[in-house]
């Protein structure tokens, strides 16, 4: 029972990070209808920004305020990076076929990964140790031992989700975002500046990925330029699982994938943990292609 609870918390913690990344995929898919492959590399850059910030500030000991500063900084840098990618690579392709944009996205992803791996321009291929971000404490509940770091991830995620919900549902920009994802042409007809909203969506999604990157590095404190690929793919699976284009779906899918993966890791099948997410993806595509919370759209001609 104790082990079960322990694993449950691990799963929720991992799943929250997947949820943060998945939201970026789902938002971009909502407005532009394509998979932003470079998203997983924005996540990786996020953890490197966190690493650099922690190196630079040289905190005497990890403090809550310092941790939040680092997190905000990583989110800001990633938001900028997201907008930059969108402006440079995707905007010139606005009316081209999905395939062209998809291939460009893969190109951008590979470029970021390989630049980051390069010794001269980037961080070099070797993993780096990520210093502690928040003050950590072990809490004891009967047999159950919890570290505050593990609790911090879902709590920060919930906070970010609340902010996201507020932006999407209670601000004019958020309303414009929803309008754009509903019908882009109609949105521009009623005076919404589509390009600005798309950039804003990229900024929002990328900042969440940045936060995810820092939180991931905090729990798995070794970062390298290729660290984004697997969490990125799993987060994408999470987005599809929840129904792509659907925000609560992405969050739910993320947590579910995180839970399944953690529980599989605890069994004899642990070496196959990376394959599980894709098995789920194929099953979802077979039985419920619209995802858990999504609605299947019929294409009209």
């Amino acid at each position: 029972m104790t082990e079960f609870l322990q694993q449950l918390l691990n799963g929720i913690s991992l799943g929250s990070i997947y949820a943060l990344i998945a939201l970026g995929y789902t938002m971009v898919y909502g407005v532009l209808r394509f998979i932003n492959f470079a998203h997983s590399d924005v996540f990786m850059i996020g953890s490197y920004v966190g690493w650099f910030a922690l190196q630079r500030f040289q905190f005497q000991q990890p403090s809550f305020l310092g941790g939040m500063t680092v997190l905000t900084l990583a989110m800001a840098v990633c938001a900028l990076l997201g907008v930059l990618i969108e402006k440079l690579a995707y905007k010139p392709l606005r009316n081209r076929s999905t395939l062209t944009v998809l291939i460009t996205a893969i190109g951008v992803s590979l470029l970021i990964q390989n630049l980051a791996q390069n010794q001269k321009f980037g961080f070099g291929p070797n993993p780096k140790a990520f210093p502690p971000l928040f003050p950590s404490k072990q809490l004891q509940f009967g047999d159950l031992t919890l570290s505050t770091n593990q609790l911090a991830v879902p709590i920060v995620t919930l906070g970010l989700l609340a902010i996201l919900y507020w932006i999407v549902h209670c601000t004019r920009t958020g309303t414009a975002m929803r309008a754009l994802s509903f019908n882009a042409t109609a949105a521009s007809l009623v005076g919404i500046n589509n390009d600005r909203i798309i950039s804003f969506t990229f900024a929002l999604g990328s900042s969440l990925a940045g936060a995810g990157g820092v939180l991931y590095a905090m729990n798995y404190p070794s970062i390298d330029p290729l660290m984004g690929t697997m969490p990125g793919l799993k987060a994408f699976v999470a987005a599809v699982l929840g129904g792509i284009g659907n925000l609560p779906g992405a969050a739910l899918g993320g947590v579910l994938i995180g839970l399944v993966e953690t529980f599989v890791s605890g069994t004899r099948l642990s070496t196959f943990r990376d394959a599980i997410a894709f098995a789920i993806l194929i099953a979802i595509l077979l039985f419920r292609p619209a995802g858990l919370l999504g609605k299947l759209k019929v294409e009209k001609v």
């Binding site: 394509f34 998979i35 690579a89 010139p92 392709l93 081209r96 076929s97 999905t98 395939l99 062209t100 998809l102 291939i103 460009t104 893969i106 190109g107 951008v108 992803s109 590979l110 470029l111 990964q113 390989n114 630049l115 791996q117 390069n118 010794q119 690929t229 793919l233 994408f236 699976v237 599809v240 070496t271 196959f272 990376d274 394959a275 997410a277 894709f278 098995a279 993806l281 194929i282 595509l285 077979l286 292609p289 294409e299 001609v301």
Partner: protein, 313 residues
């Protein structure tokens, strides 16, 4: 009955391949190695071209299918065949080609399993599923002790010669070409052009997509077998996402849905890899920049010129 022109050409090319192969002992070993690599690239790129170019789907798992074929044929020639037949001359001339075909068939079978669920859906899903499939294959191979696991499979006989490589390349290009020029094959291009319209015309689009996928993965498997018997050593990490991307770049560079362009691109990129070998770290940077710049400026590929009277897209 006189066979049609294209079949004469096929036989002639096969004869030329055999002829050159007879003298391959005189060719510089390094050049020979590059040439064999280029030939395998032609098989891979032409088969992916059928899926990504002509049928307009987007597969990112070609390296995975290659791995299935490579391991299957390597296991057949190294363990199964010697056990049944002993060490004979037969091994090179009968068992090896049969093992290539067996590798291709198994790879095609896996292609059905992967393609059937994902091809019902629109483009981007296939990309992700095939990408994931490539990863699954890698994980399975790394965990399978029978094929060496993460250490890799060693001691494969090096049967691959110029004849087999260019013979396979010729057959691949011929099959893809004649498939597309048949009455049935026009459907592939129709699916790529407009899926909804071709469905309205009564084409079974899913059927076409799966056919393209199966034929494509069959030849990817054959290419894998050739690769295994060329290097004599297999490692799961050699069939990673980067390998798939390499093949995708060939198809895109050559112009999706161009036979000759893709062949030129396959040869060119294999040569480029050799040139860039000394700049190891920069190779993938160059690749990815190439991909982005191509998509921004010439999405139709480098070697594409609009034909007279045909509207280019």
């Amino acid at each position: 009955m006189v066979p049609p022109k294209s079949q004469c050409l096929l036989i002639a090319l096969l004869a030329i391949a055999a002829l050159i192969s007879a003298f391959s002992g005189r060719i510089d070993a390094y050049l020979l190695d590059v040439a064999l690599g280029a030939g395998i690239s032609i098989v891979l790129a032409s088969s992916l071209n059928l899926i990504n170019g002509f049928t307009g789907q987007f597969s990112l798992g070609h390296a995975g299918f290659m791995a299935v074929g490579a391991y299957t044929s390597a296991m057949l020639t190294t363990t199964l065949a010697p056990k049944l037949l002993g060490q004979t001359e037969l091994l090179q001339w009968v068992v090896f080609p049969l093992s290539l075909i067996a590798g291709g068939l198994l790879s095609a079978l896996v292609g059905v399993a992967v393609g059937a669920p994902s091809l019902r859906l629109k483009g981007d899903y296939l990309a992700i599923v095939t990408l994931g499939f490539g990863e699954i294959i890698k994980v399975i191979l790394q965990n399978l002790d029978a094929v060496g696991g993460a250490r890799g499979l060693t001691g494969i006989h090096t049967h691959t010669s110029l004849f087999w490589v260019f013979g396979s390349a010729t057959v691949t290009v011929y099959v893809v070409w004649s498939l597309l020029n048949s009455t049935f094959g026009r459907g592939f291009v129709a699916v790529a052009d407009d899926e909804v319209a071709s469905e309205a015309m009564g084409l079974n689009t899913t059927h076409y997509k799966i056919t393209a996928f199966v034929v494509g993965s069959f030849f990817a498997g054959v290419a894998g077998g050739l690769y295994a018997h060329l290097k004599g050593y297999l490692n799961p990490s050699g069939f990673s996402f980067d390998k798939s991307i390499e093949i995708v770049v060939m198809v895109i560079l050559g112009g999706m849905g161009r036979h000759s362009g893709v062949i030129v691109a396959a040869v060119l990129l294999t040569a480029l890899t050799e040139v860039l070998r000394s700049f190891g770290d920069y190779r993938m940077i160059v690749y990815s920049l190439l991909l982005i710049i191509l998509m921004l400026t010439r999405p139709q590929g480098l070697f594409f010129w609009p034909l007279k009277g045909k509207k280019s897209t």
